[in-house]
Amino acid sequence: MSVTSRDLEKMALLARLEITETDLPDVTERFSRVLSLVNELNTIDTDGVIPMSNPHDMEQRLREDSIAHPSDREALMASAPAQQDGYFLVPKVID
């Protein structure tokens, strides 16, 4: 299975990864090899096999709907690089 440099650029954008022009051909090549390896799984007959959504053969346990703890905003926000009036601040994003 082979991917093009364009495929890889799109994936890098979606994953917010930076791949330089110089690295692109090499990374594309290695990425293709990994995909080919994984692609071998497609040769296995999986008819009638229920897709596995989790390796643990268990059901989800549910918790009671109650408020568990008081807010600890100060501690949680202490590591934020920028904040004001209780908001986290990030570089301006607008649609």
Partner: protein
Amino acid sequence: MSWEIVMGLEVHLQLATQSKIFSGSATQFGAAPNQQADAVDLGMPGMLPVLNEEAVRHAVKFGLGIGARIGKRSVFDRKNYFYPDLPKGYQVSQFFSPIVCEGVFDVPLEDGSLYPIRITRAHLEEDAGKSVHDIFGHETGIDLNRAGTPLLEIVTEPDFRSAEQAVAYLKALHSLVTYLGISDGNMAEGSMRCDINISLREKGSDELGTRTEIKNVNSFRFVERAIHYEYERQADILDGGGCITQETRLYDAEQNTTRSMRSKEVANDYRYFPEPDLLPIVIDDSYIDTVRQNLPELPAAKRARFLAEYGLTEYDTNLLVPNHAIADYFEAVAESSGAPKLAANWILGDLSAALNRSELSIEANPISAELLAGLVSRINDGTLSSKLAKQVFEALWNEEGDTDEIIAARGLKQVSDSGALEYMVDDVIANNPDQVAQYIAADDAKRKKLSGFFVGQIMKASKGQANPQMLNELLLKKLEDQS
């Protein structure tokens, strides 16, 4: 060219829970920024989600409420995208195996008919946080209080052919979910937000055209306007020989336009995969039965019962049923007064008008059901004419006591004593010989008009307290005797 509009709706419904879907933070609206966001909501490393049982129960209630198939084994998936108000870099949602599968929702239209809408699915997911773009100059503020609020996303098939149908569906859905108690339905606070998928095709064609998606419309009125605007926009492009670009658009309520949200297009690839931090939700038949047994009476059943049990009109029923609180209020007044039709008239007439004037909801109504029932009873037993009843209603509204106290205090009792009425009629006939002569000379049509003069005189003399029906009968008989 004549175009047919084709639409499907996606509604994001905020579920009424105390705590978030995967954490113990509170969900209450209006808290100070980031006051209700814990380490799970902030996506801190190593934090694990634990699913809220109430969110699951609400989803199952909804499924049963529309007679949908419940997904016995539903699975959470990660929807991957980057945005600052989504700290984990993915939203936990359900893509491949939703908790509510296909169903049909019958939407009552204004003419009383039912319009069936196919529900594709409804799935559980977490809400994102809120970005504030306009108060921090060159930066965006992030408030994660809403992050992790449980949502049910309800998706329909492309079954809508008009804005009116879409709005009727949303209103019926709003009514259903508030009856079920699974959402507060507060649209102004974002508890119900709607995405509209909309395309046009030539009338008679059965192929679908290219669609656009209008995001996050949060009122019935805006939904209607956004659809009308987008219809015109697409029709203009198609009439001019152009093509519709498949894209996401935003409705701008101030300008009444929709505009493209181009930035989202680049990243429109969510790479869903099963959420490894959560196990499948398994729902068995006994759980479903228990939820089913505890469902309240739903709008459709209540509508049918109001028609049959109280003999109301289709029109009255459609106005009384959608709001649970109004339906309950009506029922209390009807039961206690024994006069359901009168009760409906007063609730939909004077009471609604008064509430609107004062911008009050039914919950803030100063007239309790018991008080209004007292008024309705006194109209029903003939103590009050409708004219006097209006005075009593005003007094009830101003909290001057109950109906009997107001009647006593103001001396408002309707005169239904035939002796007293006869005296008044005789008096007015004796004092107005000219009008009596005119009446006798007139034909039937004219007589009807002329009798109004005598009624007016007597009402004036009795300060509005004469029983109008008895007065009319007596007056006509007496005038007849004169001729």
